[in-house]
Amino acid sequence: MLMKRSLILPFFSLFLVAAVTLPVFLDETAWPESSRNYLEAEGVRESGARNLVSAIYLGYRAFDTLGETIVLLVAVTGTIGILKKAGAVLEEQPDFALPGEKRQSNFMRTHLLETVTGKLGPIVLLFGFYVMLYGHLSPGGGFQGGVVVASGIVFLALGNRGDAKSHLVRQDVLGRIEALAFFLLLLVSISGIFTGGGFLDNPLKQYTSMPAAFIVLLNIIIGLKVGAGIGVMCIIMLGKE
């Protein structure tokens, strides 16, 4: 027998999956244009966001976004629960450090990390907030900006010195930011009810000429939540305080 016996079953399964999914991937059915045409004509007027993707996930389909933030919350909670019992991933490798470095808080540092990450962190945070705030006008939005903010937080956690710690890299602070952002998201979600709309309706739709303010607010809250959530997951895996 040429191949190892343990690979026969995977090959067979792979063949079956290929046979099932190949038509899906090569399907040339015409993509329906009706939703695109409607959004192109009415999306900006109805939601106020010029970025139609933002208009969908914060306007038309905001329920999905709410559920997704719950999934993120569950993932963060699960990661914290699992890793708190198992211990941090990187805390047992003190050999990766600057030569002569004795302080426990400063292992896992090289000259590259030292010079780059701490200085780049605030700039990345600023860019993350820019992406977050301009999500209704340009490519970007809460999720994208939030992920950039999370990478800025990881930069800060990697780069700051042991004696000059930013509060932004502390697990409890990030956890509170996430919980507060979720609470604010729920508050903003029910705000449409008070103006006669439904759950997650835009309360500014009929009262001001700038309904995009609702989208901006949701973008900021979701960005804070995603940034704090993914940041706290990374920091727990790093094993920082």
Binding site: L7, L9, P10, S13, L14, V17, A18, T21, L22, F25, L26, W31, E33, S35, R36, L39, E40, G43, V44, R50, N51, L52, V53, A55, I56, Y57, R61, D64, T65, E68, V71, L72, V74, A75, G78, T79, I82, L83, K85, A86, G87, V89, L137, S138, P139, G141, F143, V147, V226, I230, M233, M237
Partner: protein
């Protein structure tokens, strides 16, 4: 057509990794590959009916369909959550058994 075949190969590569690789971390990365293939497939499908980005500046028409993009935004974040959670579980297994190899883990946990 060629981009669809490449996406299909990416999907199969991820599936093969899940089936045949014995390292838990490699399985998780393969899960990510499948996720990426599906995301790119959706965005590709939505881009077939237009030429411009769906940001309604002055004079923009024939934009791509924004619905699959918004859908995949959700899928990407869920993928990140799944990856983080499964990495945490893999690390927990490593702490308990001292290995990432799936057969050794099964041996040590099974007895």
């Amino acid at each position: 057509m060629i981009e669809r075949l490449i996406l299909f190969l990416l999907f199969l590569l991820g599936f093969w990794g899940i089936l045949a690789k014995r390292n838990v971390i490699k399985k998780i990365i393969s899960l990510n590959l499948i996720n990426s293939a599906v995301v790119i497939l959706f965005v590709l499908e939505g881009s077939r009916i237009g030429d411009n980005v769906p940001i309604m500046e002055e004079g923009i028409s024939r934009v791509v369909d924004p619905v699959p993009q918004a859908l995949m935004l959700t899928a990407i974040v869920i993928g990140v959550c799944v990856t983080a959670l499964s990495l945490a579980l893999a690390f927990r297994l490593y702490k308990a058994t001292g290995t990432f190899h799936i057969d050794e883990i099964r041996e040590k946990v099974g007895k």
